[in-house]
């Protein structure tokens, strides 16, 4: 069970990272105004990194074995 949940979490985390990379790619590649793209990258990247790191640290602090003990 523990391995399965870890695996599932990794898949979801990977998809979050993939979507983030696509967002950054679009802002960098397709923006017609470089100033606006720099501002949006400055807003997006630090926040998503903070949220993902926070999410990973909270996941590691959860006792999964205890969660499924009835």
């Amino acid at each position: 069970m523990y391995v399965l949940i870890n695996l599932l979490y990794l898949v979801i985390l990977f998809s979050f990272c993939l979507v983030s990379v696509f967002i950054v790619y679009h802002i960098v590649k397709y923006s017609i105004n470089k100033k606006a793209s720099r501002i949006m990258l400055f807003v997006f990247i630090p926040t998503i990194i903070f949220l993902i790191i926070l999410n990973i640290s909270l996941f590691t602090s959860i006792d999964v074995e205890d969660l499924f003990r009835f």
């Binding site: 979050f16 397709y30 923006s31 017609i32 959860i62």
Partner: protein, 190 residues
Amino acid sequence: MKKFRNFHFHGQYSGEKIIKIVRRHWFNIFQQYIVVIAMLFLLFISLQILPNIFSFSENGAELFFAESFFAIVIWLYIFIIWIDFYFDVWIITTNRIVNIEQKALFMRHISELKFSKIQDVSIEVDGFIPTILNYGDVHIQTAGTRGRFLFHKVPNPYRLKSLIMNMQSKAIKKEQRENRRKLHAPFTQN
């Protein structure tokens, strides 16, 4: 035109200047962000309600994990909506109209229309809110087989129509001048 000096799009000709950049009306993105506002409201409400319904561990890590998970989803969703809005753009230049259509993250269409190909421009402002906020669709009928070119839910469609008509008449006059010059060129050479 000074306003768009910092703007540059892929496929822009040398000497081609941007006259206007048109995006959908802000109300269109606001409608989509209502869902985000509801999700944010749910995020904060669940922080108050969930501890009363379920029993969490002492540090509440499970609750905060779920909340941060939800926050990532909301943050990504905000930017997906913004990309769909911001990159869906009509660029009016001195030569043509370029339509860059962005649909979510993986669909992107680019089409262009020369002013001389325009046959007719019509406006459609349909409904109470579009009338109050002054936004609507601008349809451009073209001479080619492509049919219609659409500016979807753009602000101030009346001003946009007059700008396009103005550019079209300038382009036609320029084309007529060039045709006349080509016709007279053999006679003037002799």
